[in-house]
Protein backbone atom coordinates (compact mmCIF):
# COMPACT_ATOMS: atom_id res chain seq x y z
CA UNK A 1 0.00 0.00 0.00
CA UNK A 2 2.89 2.35 0.85
CA UNK A 3 4.55 1.78 -2.54
CA UNK A 4 1.25 2.33 -4.32
CA UNK A 5 0.65 5.58 -2.42
CA UNK A 6 4.15 6.73 -3.32
CA UNK A 7 3.47 6.09 -7.02
CA UNK A 8 0.13 7.89 -6.85
CA UNK A 9 1.80 10.77 -5.03
CA UNK A 10 4.35 10.98 -7.84
CA UNK A 11 1.54 10.93 -10.41
CA UNK A 12 -0.15 13.78 -8.53
CA UNK A 13 3.12 15.68 -8.60
CA UNK A 14 3.35 15.14 -12.35
CA UNK A 15 -0.13 16.68 -12.66
CA UNK A 16 1.32 19.89 -11.26
CA UNK A 17 4.39 19.61 -13.51
CA UNK A 18 2.07 19.41 -16.52
CA UNK A 19 0.15 22.45 -15.28
CA UNK A 20 3.26 24.50 -14.66
CA UNK A 21 5.35 23.72 -17.74
CA UNK A 22 5.46 26.21 -20.54
CA UNK A 23 6.82 23.90 -23.25
CA UNK A 24 4.72 21.33 -25.11
CA UNK A 25 7.39 18.58 -25.00
CA UNK A 26 7.62 18.80 -21.23
CA UNK A 27 3.83 18.46 -20.89
CA UNK A 28 3.98 15.42 -23.17
CA UNK A 29 6.86 13.96 -21.12
CA UNK A 30 4.98 14.51 -17.85
CA UNK A 31 1.91 12.79 -19.29
CA UNK A 32 4.03 9.90 -20.58
CA UNK A 33 5.76 9.40 -17.22
CA UNK A 34 2.39 9.46 -15.49
CA UNK A 35 1.17 6.79 -17.91
CA UNK A 36 4.15 4.56 -17.09
CA UNK A 37 3.55 4.99 -13.34
CA UNK A 38 -0.09 4.06 -13.87
CA UNK A 39 0.99 1.01 -15.83
CA UNK A 40 3.03 -0.29 -12.88
CA UNK A 41 0.20 0.11 -10.38
CA UNK A 42 -1.84 -3.07 -11.18
CA UNK A 43 1.28 -5.12 -10.36
CA UNK A 44 1.35 -3.59 -6.87
CA UNK A 45 -2.39 -4.03 -6.34
CA UNK A 46 -2.61 -7.69 -7.36
CA UNK A 47 -0.68 -9.95 -5.08
CA UNK A 48 -0.83 -13.16 -7.11
CA UNK A 49 -0.69 -11.83 -10.66
CA UNK A 50 -0.80 -14.06 -13.71
CA UNK A 51 0.56 -13.34 -17.14
CA UNK A 52 -2.58 -11.40 -18.11
CA UNK A 53 -1.96 -8.76 -15.47
CA UNK A 54 1.68 -8.46 -16.50
CA UNK A 55 0.62 -8.20 -20.14
CA UNK A 56 -1.89 -5.43 -19.44
CA UNK A 57 0.62 -3.60 -17.23
CA UNK A 58 3.29 -3.74 -19.91
CA UNK A 59 0.79 -2.73 -22.59
CA UNK A 60 -0.39 0.24 -20.51
CA UNK A 61 3.14 1.35 -19.77
CA UNK A 62 4.23 1.07 -23.41
CA UNK A 63 0.98 2.50 -24.78
CA UNK A 64 0.82 5.50 -22.48
CA UNK A 65 4.53 5.95 -22.01
CA UNK A 66 5.91 5.38 -25.49
CA UNK A 67 3.32 5.02 -28.25
CA UNK A 68 0.98 7.89 -27.43
CA UNK A 69 3.73 10.44 -26.61
CA UNK A 70 5.55 9.27 -29.73
CA UNK A 71 2.44 9.92 -31.83
CA UNK A 72 2.00 13.35 -30.25
CA UNK A 73 5.61 14.30 -30.82
CA UNK A 74 5.43 13.08 -34.40
CA UNK A 75 2.32 15.20 -34.91
CA UNK A 76 4.17 18.19 -33.44
CA UNK A 77 7.07 17.71 -35.83
CA UNK A 78 4.92 16.98 -38.86
CA UNK A 79 2.71 20.00 -38.34
CA UNK A 80 5.62 22.28 -37.29
CA UNK A 81 3.95 23.28 -34.05
CA UNK A 82 5.91 25.71 -31.92
CA UNK A 83 6.95 24.43 -28.52
CA UNK A 84 5.49 27.29 -26.50
CA UNK A 85 2.26 26.65 -24.66
CA UNK A 86 -0.21 29.47 -24.93
CA UNK A 87 -2.34 29.60 -21.81
CA UNK A 88 -5.84 31.03 -21.40
CA UNK A 89 -5.37 30.55 -17.67
CA UNK A 90 -1.85 31.67 -16.69
CA UNK A 91 0.70 29.19 -15.34
CA UNK A 92 0.63 30.40 -11.75
CA UNK A 93 -3.19 30.48 -11.53
CA UNK A 94 -3.49 27.04 -13.13
CA UNK A 95 -0.78 25.67 -10.81
CA UNK A 96 -2.65 27.09 -7.82
CA UNK A 97 -5.94 25.69 -9.19
CA UNK A 98 -4.32 22.28 -9.52
CA UNK A 99 -2.84 22.47 -6.02
CA UNK A 100 -6.11 23.52 -4.44
CA UNK A 101 -7.84 20.81 -6.47
CA UNK A 102 -5.39 18.24 -5.09
CA UNK A 103 -5.90 19.43 -1.52
CA UNK A 104 -9.68 19.48 -2.04
CA UNK A 105 -9.54 15.95 -3.50
CA UNK A 106 -7.68 14.74 -0.39
CA UNK A 107 -10.25 16.43 1.85
CA UNK A 108 -13.25 15.13 -0.11
CA UNK A 109 -11.91 11.58 -0.27
CA UNK A 110 -11.70 11.51 3.53
CA UNK A 111 -15.40 12.18 3.88
CA UNK A 112 -16.47 9.70 1.18
CA UNK A 113 -17.93 6.39 2.41
CA UNK A 114 -15.15 4.23 0.98
CA UNK A 115 -14.50 0.55 1.61
CA UNK A 116 -12.14 0.08 4.55
CA UNK A 117 -9.37 -1.30 2.31
CA UNK A 118 -9.48 1.85 0.18
CA UNK A 119 -9.65 4.33 3.04
CA UNK A 120 -5.89 4.51 3.49
CA UNK A 121 -4.98 4.53 -0.19
CA UNK A 122 -4.53 7.64 -2.31
CA UNK A 123 -6.38 6.10 -5.27
CA UNK A 124 -9.55 8.20 -4.94
CA UNK A 125 -7.83 11.56 -4.25
CA UNK A 126 -5.33 10.79 -7.01
CA UNK A 127 -8.14 10.05 -9.45
CA UNK A 128 -10.05 13.21 -8.53
CA UNK A 129 -6.92 15.37 -8.68
CA UNK A 130 -5.92 14.00 -12.10
CA UNK A 131 -9.39 14.58 -13.48
CA UNK A 132 -9.37 18.16 -12.19
CA UNK A 133 -5.91 18.71 -13.70
CA UNK A 134 -7.18 17.31 -16.99
CA UNK A 135 -10.07 19.75 -16.91
CA UNK A 136 -7.82 22.73 -16.20
CA UNK A 137 -5.51 21.75 -19.07
CA UNK A 138 -8.48 21.23 -21.41
CA UNK A 139 -10.02 24.59 -20.54
CA UNK A 140 -6.92 26.66 -19.99
CA UNK A 141 -4.67 25.92 -22.97
CA UNK A 142 -5.01 27.17 -26.51
CA UNK A 143 -3.16 24.59 -28.57
CA UNK A 144 -4.78 21.33 -29.61
CA UNK A 145 -1.81 19.18 -28.54
CA UNK A 146 -1.86 20.49 -24.97
CA UNK A 147 -5.59 19.86 -24.88
CA UNK A 148 -4.93 16.27 -25.96
CA UNK A 149 -2.51 16.01 -23.01
CA UNK A 150 -5.25 17.36 -20.74
CA UNK A 151 -7.57 14.70 -22.08
CA UNK A 152 -4.92 12.03 -21.44
CA UNK A 153 -4.41 13.15 -17.85
CA UNK A 154 -8.18 13.14 -17.43
CA UNK A 155 -8.24 9.57 -18.72
CA UNK A 156 -5.43 8.66 -16.30
CA UNK A 157 -7.70 9.84 -13.48
CA UNK A 158 -10.49 7.57 -14.71
CA UNK A 159 -7.99 4.71 -14.94
CA UNK A 160 -7.07 5.32 -11.27
CA UNK A 161 -10.75 5.03 -10.39
CA UNK A 162 -10.84 1.82 -12.39
CA UNK A 163 -8.04 0.40 -10.26
CA UNK A 164 -10.42 0.50 -7.28
CA UNK A 165 -12.49 -2.19 -8.97
CA UNK A 166 -9.54 -4.28 -10.09
CA UNK A 167 -10.79 -7.19 -7.96
CA UNK A 168 -14.22 -7.38 -9.56
CA UNK A 169 -13.85 -6.20 -13.17
CA UNK A 170 -11.51 -7.94 -15.56
CA UNK A 171 -8.52 -6.00 -16.80
CA UNK A 172 -9.84 -6.64 -20.28
CA UNK A 173 -11.93 -3.48 -19.93
CA UNK A 174 -8.80 -1.47 -19.20
CA UNK A 175 -7.09 -3.06 -22.18
CA UNK A 176 -10.05 -2.09 -24.38
CA UNK A 177 -9.96 1.49 -23.14
CA UNK A 178 -6.22 1.65 -23.80
CA UNK A 179 -6.72 0.44 -27.37
CA UNK A 180 -9.48 3.03 -27.92
CA UNK A 181 -7.23 5.71 -26.52
CA UNK A 182 -4.28 4.80 -28.71
CA UNK A 183 -6.46 4.78 -31.83
CA UNK A 184 -7.96 8.10 -30.70
CA UNK A 185 -4.57 9.74 -30.33
CA UNK A 186 -3.49 8.27 -33.66
CA UNK A 187 -6.51 9.88 -35.33
CA UNK A 188 -5.91 13.18 -33.49
CA UNK A 189 -2.32 13.12 -34.72
CA UNK A 190 -3.54 12.92 -38.29
CA UNK A 191 -6.29 15.51 -37.77
CA UNK A 192 -3.81 17.94 -36.20
CA UNK A 193 -1.68 17.68 -39.33
CA UNK A 194 -4.72 18.30 -41.55
CA UNK A 195 -5.91 21.25 -39.49
CA UNK A 196 -2.45 22.75 -39.67
CA UNK A 197 -2.40 22.43 -43.45
CA UNK A 198 -5.91 23.81 -43.91
CA UNK A 199 -5.78 26.71 -41.46
CA UNK A 200 -2.05 27.34 -40.92
CA UNK A 201 -2.71 27.26 -37.19
CA UNK A 202 -3.69 24.95 -34.38
CA UNK A 203 -5.18 27.70 -32.31
CA UNK A 204 -8.48 26.27 -31.13
CA UNK A 205 -9.89 29.78 -30.85
CA UNK A 206 -9.93 29.94 -34.63
CA UNK A 207 -11.81 26.67 -34.96
CA UNK A 208 -15.11 27.91 -33.62
CA UNK A 209 -16.80 29.12 -36.82
CA UNK A 210 -18.25 26.78 -39.46
CA UNK A 211 -17.86 27.84 -43.10
CA UNK A 212 -18.52 26.28 -46.44
Amino acid sequence: MRDLNLLIGLAMGLNLVALGSSRLPSIIRATALQGVLLGIMPLLLEHDFGWQVVAVAVATAIGKGVVIPGLLQRAMRAAHIEREVEPFIGFVPSLLLGAFGTIAALAVARSLPLLPEHAKSLLVPGALASMLTGFVLLIGRVKAISQVCGYLIFENGIYLFGLLLIGSTPLLVEAGVLLDLTVGIFVIGIIVDRIQRAFDSLDTRKLTVLRE
Binding site: L6, L16, G20, F91, V92, L95, L96, L106
Partner: protein
Protein backbone atom coordinates in the same frame (compact mmCIF):
# COMPACT_ATOMS: atom_id res chain seq x y z
CA UNK B 1 34.28 28.02 31.31
CA UNK B 2 32.86 25.32 29.08
CA UNK B 3 29.89 27.54 28.25
CA UNK B 4 32.19 30.35 27.15
CA UNK B 5 34.31 27.95 25.11
CA UNK B 6 31.34 26.40 23.32
CA UNK B 7 29.90 29.86 22.68
CA UNK B 8 33.19 30.97 21.11
CA UNK B 9 33.33 27.77 19.06
CA UNK B 10 29.82 28.28 17.72
CA UNK B 11 30.50 31.93 16.95
CA UNK B 12 33.66 30.87 15.12
CA UNK B 13 31.70 28.34 13.06
CA UNK B 14 29.24 31.01 11.91
CA UNK B 15 31.63 33.95 11.53
CA UNK B 16 34.73 32.25 10.17
CA UNK B 17 33.33 29.34 8.18
CA UNK B 18 30.63 31.32 6.35
CA UNK B 19 32.87 33.12 3.79
CA UNK B 20 34.16 29.71 2.71
CA UNK B 21 30.83 28.75 1.11
CA UNK B 22 30.77 31.29 -1.77
CA UNK B 23 34.39 30.29 -2.43
CA UNK B 24 33.42 26.63 -2.72
CA UNK B 25 30.52 27.51 -5.03
CA UNK B 26 32.83 29.53 -7.28
CA UNK B 27 35.40 26.72 -7.28
CA UNK B 28 32.73 24.19 -8.32
CA UNK B 29 31.56 26.53 -11.08
CA UNK B 30 35.12 27.03 -12.30
CA UNK B 31 35.80 23.29 -12.14
CA UNK B 32 32.69 22.47 -14.20
CA UNK B 33 33.63 25.12 -16.75
CA UNK B 34 37.21 23.82 -16.91
CA UNK B 35 38.77 26.97 -15.46
CA UNK B 36 41.05 27.29 -12.46
CA UNK B 37 38.88 29.89 -10.81
CA UNK B 38 39.56 32.19 -7.88
CA UNK B 39 41.00 30.67 -4.69
CA UNK B 40 38.52 29.21 -2.23
CA UNK B 41 39.52 31.84 0.31
CA UNK B 42 38.86 34.74 -2.08
CA UNK B 43 36.01 36.18 -0.01
CA UNK B 44 38.28 36.40 3.06
CA UNK B 45 40.78 38.47 1.04
CA UNK B 46 37.93 40.62 -0.30
CA UNK B 47 36.59 41.23 3.19
CA UNK B 48 40.04 42.17 4.50
CA UNK B 49 40.57 44.54 1.58
CA UNK B 50 37.13 46.16 1.96
CA UNK B 51 37.66 46.60 5.68
CA UNK B 52 40.69 48.82 5.05
CA UNK B 53 38.94 50.98 2.46
CA UNK B 54 37.13 54.19 3.23
CA UNK B 55 33.41 54.71 2.81
CA UNK B 56 32.09 56.75 -0.10
CA UNK B 57 28.69 58.21 0.62
CA UNK B 58 26.13 59.76 -1.65
CA UNK B 59 25.28 63.36 -0.71
CA UNK B 60 21.63 62.27 -0.53
CA UNK B 61 22.22 59.47 1.92
CA UNK B 62 21.36 59.75 5.59
CA UNK B 63 23.24 57.81 8.30
CA UNK B 64 20.81 54.93 7.63
CA UNK B 65 23.06 54.14 4.67
CA UNK B 66 25.68 52.94 7.18
CA UNK B 67 23.25 51.72 9.84
CA UNK B 68 21.30 49.51 7.38
CA UNK B 69 24.12 47.06 6.60
CA UNK B 70 25.13 46.97 10.28
CA UNK B 71 21.58 46.15 11.38
CA UNK B 72 21.29 43.52 8.63
CA UNK B 73 24.56 41.88 9.66
CA UNK B 74 23.58 41.87 13.34
CA UNK B 75 20.13 40.45 12.54
CA UNK B 76 21.61 37.60 10.49
CA UNK B 77 24.13 36.87 13.25
CA UNK B 78 21.26 36.85 15.75
CA UNK B 79 19.34 34.39 13.56
CA UNK B 80 22.38 32.12 13.30
CA UNK B 81 22.71 31.99 17.10
CA UNK B 82 19.22 30.46 17.24
CA UNK B 83 20.00 27.66 14.78
CA UNK B 84 21.32 24.50 16.44
CA UNK B 85 24.45 22.89 15.01
CA UNK B 86 23.34 19.32 15.40
CA UNK B 87 21.98 17.74 18.58
CA UNK B 88 25.41 17.69 20.24
CA UNK B 89 26.45 21.31 19.81
CA UNK B 90 22.97 22.76 20.09
CA UNK B 91 22.13 26.42 19.67
CA UNK B 92 23.53 29.32 21.66
CA UNK B 93 20.01 30.45 22.45
CA UNK B 94 17.09 28.07 22.52
CA UNK B 95 13.58 28.70 23.80
CA UNK B 96 10.00 27.91 22.88
CA UNK B 97 9.10 29.71 19.65
CA UNK B 98 12.64 30.64 18.63
CA UNK B 99 11.78 29.62 15.06
CA UNK B 100 9.46 32.64 14.78
CA UNK B 101 12.22 34.93 16.00
CA UNK B 102 14.60 33.44 13.42
CA UNK B 103 12.12 34.11 10.59
CA UNK B 104 11.60 37.68 11.77
CA UNK B 105 15.31 38.37 12.19
CA UNK B 106 15.86 37.26 8.60
CA UNK B 107 13.01 39.56 7.53
CA UNK B 108 14.57 42.40 9.53
CA UNK B 109 17.89 41.84 7.76
CA UNK B 110 16.15 42.09 4.42
CA UNK B 111 14.32 45.24 5.48
CA UNK B 112 17.55 46.87 6.61
CA UNK B 113 19.32 46.04 3.34
CA UNK B 114 16.48 47.39 1.21
CA UNK B 115 16.24 50.46 3.41
CA UNK B 116 19.92 51.20 2.95
CA UNK B 117 19.51 50.62 -0.78
CA UNK B 118 16.73 53.19 -0.99
CA UNK B 119 18.89 55.72 0.88
CA UNK B 120 21.17 56.18 -2.12
CA UNK B 121 18.38 57.78 -4.12
CA UNK B 122 19.36 55.83 -7.21
CA UNK B 123 16.55 54.52 -9.40
CA UNK B 124 18.34 51.21 -9.99
CA UNK B 125 18.68 50.58 -6.29
CA UNK B 126 14.98 51.15 -5.76
CA UNK B 127 14.24 48.72 -8.59
CA UNK B 128 16.44 46.04 -7.05
CA UNK B 129 14.86 46.60 -3.66
CA UNK B 130 11.39 46.25 -5.16
CA UNK B 131 12.36 42.98 -6.84
CA UNK B 132 13.99 41.58 -3.73
CA UNK B 133 10.91 42.30 -1.64
CA UNK B 134 8.55 40.94 -4.30
CA UNK B 135 10.37 37.61 -4.40
CA UNK B 136 10.57 37.56 -0.62
CA UNK B 137 6.78 37.56 -0.36
CA UNK B 138 6.66 34.13 -1.96
CA UNK B 139 9.92 32.83 -0.51
CA UNK B 140 8.80 33.64 3.02
CA UNK B 141 5.50 31.85 2.44
CA UNK B 142 7.48 28.75 1.44
CA UNK B 143 9.80 29.14 4.42
CA UNK B 144 6.91 29.48 6.86
CA UNK B 145 5.17 26.44 5.33
CA UNK B 146 8.41 24.45 5.71
CA UNK B 147 8.83 25.46 9.35
CA UNK B 148 5.14 24.65 9.97
CA UNK B 149 5.75 21.20 8.49
CA UNK B 150 8.57 20.58 10.94
CA UNK B 151 6.48 21.95 13.81
CA UNK B 152 3.53 19.69 12.95
CA UNK B 153 5.87 16.73 12.54
CA UNK B 154 7.48 17.11 15.94
CA UNK B 155 4.74 18.93 17.85
CA UNK B 156 7.21 21.57 18.98
CA UNK B 157 8.05 25.16 18.08
CA UNK B 158 11.65 25.14 19.22
CA UNK B 159 14.31 24.75 16.52
CA UNK B 160 16.42 22.38 18.61
CA UNK B 161 13.66 19.74 18.82
CA UNK B 162 12.11 20.57 15.44
CA UNK B 163 15.26 19.76 13.53
CA UNK B 164 16.20 16.62 15.44
CA UNK B 165 14.07 13.85 13.84
CA UNK B 166 13.79 13.11 10.14
CA UNK B 167 10.63 14.15 8.39
CA UNK B 168 9.89 10.79 6.77
CA UNK B 169 8.05 10.74 3.45
CA UNK B 170 7.73 14.49 3.25
CA UNK B 171 11.54 14.83 3.45
CA UNK B 172 11.93 14.85 -0.35
CA UNK B 173 9.27 17.52 -0.81
CA UNK B 174 10.73 19.59 1.99
CA UNK B 175 14.28 19.22 0.67
CA UNK B 176 13.26 20.42 -2.80
CA UNK B 177 11.19 23.28 -1.40
CA UNK B 178 13.82 24.46 1.06
CA UNK B 179 16.61 24.19 -1.50
CA UNK B 180 14.62 26.47 -3.82
CA UNK B 181 14.10 28.87 -0.92
CA UNK B 182 17.86 28.76 -0.29
CA UNK B 183 18.50 29.68 -3.92
CA UNK B 184 16.11 32.63 -3.92
CA UNK B 185 17.00 33.91 -0.44
CA UNK B 186 20.69 33.96 -1.33
CA UNK B 187 20.12 35.29 -4.87
CA UNK B 188 21.64 32.29 -6.62
CA UNK B 189 21.23 31.44 -10.25
CA UNK B 190 17.75 30.52 -11.41
CA UNK B 191 16.54 33.69 -9.66
CA UNK B 192 19.46 36.06 -9.73
CA UNK B 193 22.97 35.88 -11.10
CA UNK B 194 25.56 36.92 -8.51
CA UNK B 195 28.14 37.38 -11.27
CA UNK B 196 26.16 39.77 -13.43
CA UNK B 197 26.69 43.50 -13.29
CA UNK B 198 23.99 44.65 -15.67
CA UNK B 199 21.75 46.97 -13.66
CA UNK B 200 18.55 45.99 -15.44
CA UNK B 201 18.78 42.31 -14.50
CA UNK B 202 20.39 42.38 -11.08
CA UNK B 203 18.44 41.96 -7.88
CA UNK B 204 20.64 41.66 -4.84
CA UNK B 205 23.78 43.00 -6.48
CA UNK B 206 22.05 46.17 -7.61
CA UNK B 207 20.87 46.90 -4.08
CA UNK B 208 24.41 46.95 -2.75
CA UNK B 209 25.96 48.63 -5.78
CA UNK B 210 26.66 51.95 -4.07
CA UNK B 211 27.98 50.51 -0.85
CA UNK B 212 31.70 50.53 -0.21
CA UNK B 213 34.28 49.87 2.47
CA UNK B 214 33.36 48.27 5.80
CA UNK B 215 29.55 48.47 5.27
CA UNK B 216 29.96 46.53 2.03
CA UNK B 217 32.14 43.99 3.83
CA UNK B 218 29.34 43.60 6.40
CA UNK B 219 26.84 43.03 3.59
CA UNK B 220 29.04 40.40 1.91
CA UNK B 221 29.78 38.64 5.18
CA UNK B 222 26.11 38.75 6.19
CA UNK B 223 25.11 37.23 2.85
CA UNK B 224 27.59 34.38 3.29
CA UNK B 225 26.34 33.76 6.86
CA UNK B 226 22.80 33.62 5.52
CA UNK B 227 23.90 31.05 2.93
CA UNK B 228 25.50 28.94 5.66
CA UNK B 229 22.39 29.30 7.82
CA UNK B 230 20.15 28.02 5.03
CA UNK B 231 22.54 25.18 4.19
CA UNK B 232 22.52 24.10 7.85
CA UNK B 233 18.71 24.36 7.96
CA UNK B 234 18.23 22.29 4.80
CA UNK B 235 20.64 19.60 6.02
CA UNK B 236 19.10 19.33 9.46
CA UNK B 237 15.47 19.40 8.38
CA UNK B 238 16.01 16.52 5.95
CA UNK B 239 18.38 14.24 7.89
CA UNK B 240 17.44 12.53 11.16
CA UNK B 241 20.05 14.40 13.18
CA UNK B 242 18.70 13.20 16.52
CA UNK B 243 19.55 9.56 15.78
CA UNK B 244 23.30 10.08 15.29
CA UNK B 245 25.93 10.09 17.99
CA UNK B 246 27.61 13.37 18.95
CA UNK B 247 30.68 13.23 16.73
CA UNK B 248 28.75 11.52 13.91
CA UNK B 249 26.19 14.34 13.93
CA UNK B 250 28.88 16.99 13.54
CA UNK B 251 30.49 15.10 10.65
CA UNK B 252 27.10 14.56 8.99
CA UNK B 253 26.30 18.25 9.36
CA UNK B 254 29.61 19.30 7.80
CA UNK B 255 29.22 16.87 4.91
CA UNK B 256 25.59 17.93 4.44
CA UNK B 257 26.51 21.61 4.26
CA UNK B 258 29.27 20.78 1.80
CA UNK B 259 26.87 18.77 -0.38
CA UNK B 260 24.30 21.59 -0.37
CA UNK B 261 27.02 24.11 -1.30
CA UNK B 262 28.34 21.96 -4.12
CA UNK B 263 24.72 21.44 -5.20
CA UNK B 264 24.27 25.21 -5.47
CA UNK B 265 27.44 25.40 -7.58
CA UNK B 266 26.25 22.62 -9.86
CA UNK B 267 22.80 24.19 -10.28
CA UNK B 268 24.56 27.45 -11.09
CA UNK B 269 26.77 25.75 -13.69
CA UNK B 270 24.03 23.90 -15.53
CA UNK B 271 21.10 26.30 -15.36
CA UNK B 272 20.51 29.66 -16.94
CA UNK B 273 18.74 32.26 -14.87
CA UNK B 274 15.02 32.47 -15.47
CA UNK B 275 13.27 35.34 -17.16
CA UNK B 276 11.59 37.57 -14.61
CA UNK B 277 8.09 36.53 -15.58
CA UNK B 278 8.98 32.86 -15.02
CA UNK B 279 10.34 33.39 -11.51
CA UNK B 280 6.97 33.63 -9.70
CA UNK B 281 6.09 30.25 -11.23
CA UNK B 282 9.15 28.57 -9.72
CA UNK B 283 8.57 30.31 -6.40
CA UNK B 284 4.94 29.19 -6.39
CA UNK B 285 6.22 25.68 -7.05
CA UNK B 286 8.48 25.86 -4.02
CA UNK B 287 5.59 27.16 -1.89
CA UNK B 288 3.47 24.26 -3.12
CA UNK B 289 6.24 21.74 -2.37
CA UNK B 290 6.41 22.97 1.21
CA UNK B 291 2.60 23.07 1.49
CA UNK B 292 2.37 19.48 0.25
CA UNK B 293 5.06 18.44 2.74
CA UNK B 294 2.86 20.08 5.37
CA UNK B 295 -0.14 18.09 4.09
CA UNK B 296 1.83 14.83 4.28
CA UNK B 297 2.89 15.70 7.83
CA UNK B 298 -0.72 16.38 8.77
CA UNK B 299 -1.90 13.14 7.21
CA UNK B 300 0.80 11.31 9.15
CA UNK B 301 -0.13 13.03 12.40
CA UNK B 302 -3.86 12.43 12.06
Amino acid sequence: MMIVLSFVARLAWWLLLAPLLPGIINKVKAWVAGRRGPPVLQLYYDLARLWRKQVVMSTLASPAFIVGPAVAWAAVLGATLLVPLGPAAGATLSFRGDVVLMLYLLALARFATTWAAMETGSAFEGMGAAREVTYAVLAEAAMIAAMLTLAVQTGSVSLATMLAPSVGTSAVLLAAGLFTVLLVENCRVPFDDPATHLELTMIHEVMVLDHSGPPFAAILHGASMKLLLFAVLVTQSVLPMGTYSRTMASIVLLVGVLIVTVGVGIVESFMARFAFRRVPLLLTTSVLLCVFALLVAWQGAA
